[in-house]
Symmetry: C2
Subunit: 199 residues, 2 copies
């Protein structure tokens, strides 16, 4: 049996992780604008990870565009654009894989400095694709100034956050009125019977 | 400091709850049909709650229509229809509130028997609204044959599941091609700057 102290720490961490998802879920059903939802998600990630930076990029044709950030540089939102195939962020978008570098992220051969962001000199880098309806539509990056060994919980959390951001993007396209007018029942019944799903 | 045995049990339960959300999130980004997603969610709820029944109703005009169930009675999907203002399920839809009855649910003054479902004689009843873009679009019910005191985790879980089902319904309206063609960046930037959000 593990020690009470260790169990209590694990329990608190798992409860925090659960609260992040419950709060994201609440954002998605509230009447919030999309920038507010994205900003809210970034804030939750920063609180959970105790990281120095969280940047959210979305794909626009062949570019990745900065769309939300924990740091108050609003002038850069929509302005910082990376080529889709460049740098660590581009690698994550193209490979659709989580990337975790615990130190010297800037020495990775895939790294590309853009000289516009202080984050380019940070040591630790964790990045997950943003997925909507099975397509990569962006990337979310978490960075620590100092070296940081990412835990399994942190990697799991960012993976799921990437999926939930994708859901939030699609949801924002449908107004509350459209939701009310739509017949969800027809949509379910028209799709035919469900086949069993492995969970 | 609580006992190790109790802490370990709490930790395992919290981890299970977290896994339910991670699996639902994975359903929402996969290429699955809507009935498969709803069926998958119902199965996860039954596993977590160890309940005897999980029924999902969606609103169609003034009715609540059975759209997914853990019990293999596919003939009843789309056939069982309740009036929106009747019974415990109608109460939850109209009040937009969680309802938890630990025993003798059938004696509640709001109860209405439909004689079509064995669930009408079950003791314990837990029910949450399904919410999409801040509108009630359905109800999800969990029932135990025997009396059952619902825990805070169970109530929390069903509340969030109701929100995630609402998201899944909206997501299903957008095909992967539409997601790919859509410019999420324009959508974010057109909405103006984000204001700080309390988390």
């Amino acid at each position: 049996m593990p020690k009470s102290k260790d169990l209590l720490a694990s329990l608190q961490r798992t409860e925090q992780q659960l609260q992040v998802f419950q709060k994201i879920s609440r954002f998605m059903v509230r009447e919030m604008s999309l920038p507010e939802v994205l900003q809210g998600i970034v804030t939750l990630v920063v609180e959970f990870m105790a990281c120095d930076s969280c940047l959210l990029y979305l794909i626009d044709k062949n570019e990745l565009v900065l769309c939300a950030s924990n740091n108050p540089h609003p002038a850069e939102i929509g302005k910082i654009r990376l080529r889709r195939d460049e740098g660590l962020t581009g690698w994550v978008a193209n490979q659709r894989r989580l990337l975790a570098l615990s130190m010297e992220a800037y020495k990775d051969p895939r790294f590309k400095s853009f000289r516009d962001l202080p984050e380019d000199s940070f040591e630790a880098f964790l990045s997950a694709p943003v997925i909507a309806r099975n397509r990569v539509v962006g990337v979310i990056n978490v960075q620590h100034r100092a070296p940081h060994q990412h835990t399994g919980s942190e990697m799991e959390l960012l993976t799921t956050v990437g999926e939930q951001v994708g859901c939030a993007l699609v949801l924002a396209r449908m107004t509350p009125d459209m939701v009310e007018a739509a017949s969800h029942v027809d949509l379910v019944l028209a799709s035919g019977p469900a086949t069993p799903v492995r969970t």
